[in-house]
């Protein structure tokens, strides 16, 4: 999802009997749903997996501001503009909650920033697609934030305390994001034929990338088992994807839009929709840096970081000077 490239140890999951006493005590706590806090002992793999997952999640929130931010100056009304600013500001806030949660594990903010800017750390593939029309802002809120909620609700029960608490805050705010997106879609679909057409076009372009947000299929995802044993992850990628499709198709029907998948069909037996194969080749291309906007997104983040350097340093220099003056006056 927001951490599509998380790699854990790659070894199989150990049984309690195979563990050393410290690790065993740790796993028993996790099994009993007792939260792990930053200063508690934890296996190295647990720490590394969490640092990678939480920092990728944070990077996704930060980079995620870019596609939507591009429409702030072009929002159709003043009210829509104020709402979009509030939404993009929330994404910045979510990134900050998450960076702080990762920092409790011993990685610094600057290290994480450096990993993002050097391309070493990933962010969600979804933010490498362009926002071509106003309807894309509707589709992102409805589909992308909808998929994010699907993933983040179970993360509220994650075994690591700071991540779980950050997710609780995020989830409280996320529902506004999805609703404002669906509201834009409803308005467009009740509008002129041209407005309805851009709504359909946005759904056509965002549907597949939204399904990819849940990450590779379970059969391909080698890291799931360990993350699930550690209760970093509660549901498999395919389970969450299925839930998302089942929830979203009726919402598309309500709008009078058609989901761009000829294989989409209700399956009475499983009580859910069957849907077509996802273009995984495209997914891996985008994750590895070759999506339509990867270069733009990274350039924007690097520019923001380097353009802001004098300002960050200036404020720090001012703080040091003020502190020195206060000490001298005492």
């Amino acid at each position: 999802m927001y951490a599509q490239e998380v790699k854990s140890t790659g070894k199989g999951v150990k049984s309690l009997d195979e563990m050393e006493p410290l690790e065993r005590a740790f796993q028993e706590k996790v099994n009993a749903d007792i939260k792990i806090e930053p200063k508690d002992w934890m296996p190295d793999g647990y720490r590394k997996t969490l640092i990678r997952q939480i920092s990728q999640h944070a990077h996704s929130e930060i980079v995620g501001q870019l596609p939507e931010g591009a429409w702030i100056t072009r929002a159709p009304t003043l009210e829509r503009k104020a709402i979009l600013i509030a939404k993009v500001q929330d994404e910045a806030g979510h990134g900050l909650y998450l960076y702080c949660a990762a920092e409790t594990l011993g990685v610094s903010r600057d290290q994480m920033t450096e990993q993002l800017l050097s391309g070493k750390a990933k962010y969600s593939s979804i933010f490498n697609y362009p926002t071509l029309t106003w309807a894309d802002i509707g589709a992102i809120g409805w589909l992308v934030d909808g998929a994010a909620i699907m993933n983040q609700v179970p993360l509220q029960r994650c075994s690591f305390g700071p991540y779980s608490r950050a997710m609780i805050r995020v989830c409280k705010e996320e529902s506004f994001h999805q609703r404002q997106g669906y509201d834009i879609m409803m308005k467009l679909c009740a509008g002129t034929p041209a407005q309805k057409e851009i709504a359909q076009d946005a759904l056509d372009r965002w549907w597949q990338p939204s399904l990819m947000m849940f990450g590779p299929s379970d059969a391909e995802s080698v890291h799931s088992a360990q993350s699930m044993a550690w209760k970093i992850k509660q549901d498999t990628n395919d389970e969450l994807r299925q839930k998302f499709v089942d929830q979203t198709v009726p919402q598309a029907n309500y709008l009078g839009l058609s989901v761009p998948d000829p294989d989409l069909k209700w399956n009475n037996e499983k009580g859910g929709y069957d849907f077509g194969e996802i273009d995984w080749e495209e997914f891996f291309e985008v994750v590895s840096g070759n999506g339509p906007c990867n270069a733009d997104r990274m350039a924007a983040r690097r520019k923001a970081w380097s353009d802001g350097a004098w300002f960050r340093d200036g404020l720090m220099a001012h703080a040091h000077k003020k502190q020195a003056r206060n000490v001298a006056a005492e």
Binding site: W41, D110, R312, L315, H318, K322
Partner: protein, 94 residues
């Protein structure tokens, strides 16, 4: 990237006369800006009426290994709870 802003812990008093409660942390160059940032990061939906910030480095925390010696002694002192004492119904409310 050595000139990183220090980390601050943020405490917010909610609307209903409760004590300040830890809500998270953030980076800021000094206390004044830490308050301003806390306003933006932690009270976008009217969550607070007052903010405290403290430098994370100035906070001393108990060690997880001290959990036993610190907190176990109170386990055996059930008489500190009012329900430990049986008061006959005839006495009335107490």
């Amino acid at each position: 990237m050595s000139n990183e802003w220090p980390l601050w812990e943020v405490f917010i008093r909610g609307q209903h006369g409760m004590a300040h409660r830890h809500v998270g942390s953030l980076h800021a160059p000094d206390a004044e800006l830490a308050i301003n940032h806390a306003r933006d990061v932690y009270t976008r939906r009217n969550e607070g009426v007052s903010i405290w910030v403290a430098k994370a480095g100035d906070i001393t925390a108990s060690a997880p290994s001290a959990k036993g010696p610190l907190f176990e002694p109170s386990n055996s002192k059930v008489y500190r709870h009012p329900t430990f004492f049986d008061i006959p119904d005839d006495v009335g409310r107490m």
